[in-house]
């Protein structure tokens, strides 16, 4: 199963890269962010939402997001998603996947926050790090 999972991750990463390149082409035309939590860096804007909207301790959830490059910038080829508890200095016990949904949007499954407290989402887009903290009761 580990091999299957690794293969799945490699496949997902390839899809992500391909999807982001396709997104970059589309971005030259128009890039609109859907409703959600907005994050911004020098080169990018990002919107994400979790499914379900309320994250509960110990329950799996999914995440959907879209990213748009700012004028003159392009979407990076590689993207990594993660979350951790800064005060505890550890992350999740699960590794979410990432699938392109088209038009620069993505879905990620397999998230689970196993402790109450402050968690920080980390969107690493080609080395550009966008973070957002949530408190889970």
């Amino acid at each position: 199963m580990e091999e299957r999972r690794d293969a799945f991750r490699r496949h997902a990463q390839a899809l992500i890269a391909a999807g982001l390149l396709a997104g970059a082409v589309g971005a030259a035309q128009a890039c609109e962010l859907p409703a959600g939590t907005r994050l911004e860096s020098k080169r990018l804007e990002l919107s994400y939402r979790t499914i379900p909207p309320r994250i509960k301790v110990g329950e799996h959830f999914a995440l959907e997001f879209a990213a748009c490059p700012k004028p003159g910038a392009a979407l990076p080829e590689r993207i990594k998603l993660d979350a951790w508890m800064p005060e505890h200095k550890h992350g999740m016990n699960y590794r979410p996947d990432l699938k392109p949904l088209g038009a620069g949007s993505y879905r990620s499954d397999g998230w689970l926050f196993h402790m109450p407290g402050r968690w920080e989402f980390v969107f690493d887009l080609g080395g550009e790090r966008l973070t957002h903290s949530v408190r889970i009761e």
């Binding site: 299957r4 301790v57 110990g58 505890h88 979410p96 499954d109 397999g110 196993h114 109450p116």
Partner: protein, 390 residues
Amino acid sequence: MKRIALAALLALAAASAAAQLLDFTDAETRAILRHGPWPAPWTPDPSNRASGIREAVDLGERLFFEPRLSPSGKVLCATCHAPFRGWQDSRARAFGLVEVDRNTPSLLNVRYNRWFGWDGAGDSLWAQSIRPILDAREMGGSQAQTAALVRADPEFSCRYAKVFGAPPPVSDEALLAGIAKALAAFQETLVAGRAAFDEFRDALEKGNRAAAARYPLAAQRGLRIFVGRGNCSTCHFGPAFSNGEFHDTGVPFFIAGGGVDPGRHGGIRKLTANPFNLLGRYNDDPTGGSATKTLHVSLEHRNFGEFKVPGLRNVARTAPYMHNGGLATLADVVRHYSEISPDRLHSDGEILLKPLRLSAEESADLVAFLESLTEIASALEPRRPSEPCR
């Protein structure tokens, strides 16, 4: 008359002393309420088509108490999971055919787990139920022997057909999966009854201060430590008092013969190699949703020496404690966390764990709280005589 008045005054004073309620903050109250209500909601396991089926519970109960599941005829599930010992064995380390390396966990509330076993090598209760049957140190059985028993025994084979709608299959592996699903259906019925803590928690939720004040003061003080500076409720989370995950809590993981118990790291490796895991053919869940955890679980170096956070309901009845049974009493467990050495924890481990440096009174309070998680009355149905299967 004076005597009566004095007696009344003394009674009033005693009642006042006995019925006090600490002034819990809003944050403390929120943390306390997270440990209920009890019993917690539960839905049948979608990976097990026998889950929640009465006939499967009956078959599973018979199998649970069946010594012939072990070729020796001497070891049954109930050998280690004894009903009269809180569904565990009161030993430091389990003893089936020989002694093993870990403590027997209680089966009470097992249905609320995400992972099964101290190392979480099982991703379903039914998959976990296979492990001791086949383990040479525990029951010492085999697929072929277990399958042959159920096929040859008219009562078992008749009940199997009633549960699964077809006679026991030709495949030993498939039959073992079915047997395990019936065993799981029975174990899912093992739920702890309500405890003094639950009465307190529900009274607090309703704002009934008078009822809440009946909860012993020592337990209230211990609870305050539990949800407060002790940080216990961060891992011992929710109605069953476990977040269902794994942590290194500084308990030694050296085992007899000079070996090391790899804990969760070994558990994930066993999980991935197990043909009965939820990514395999025996998962009955057509949506695949129940396998999300198995698909996404991440093997990390820090998993070495991590063991599952046990639930705490009825904990006063399940001594000794920790994955190796190394601590004899609840007071010992509290002392462990009070004096824990950060040097014994992984460098990338749970930094939340720091020595609590509890006073003797605080330690006693924490023990009083843990004891208040003991069920007031069993919630289990009495065993019923059942008619022979036709």
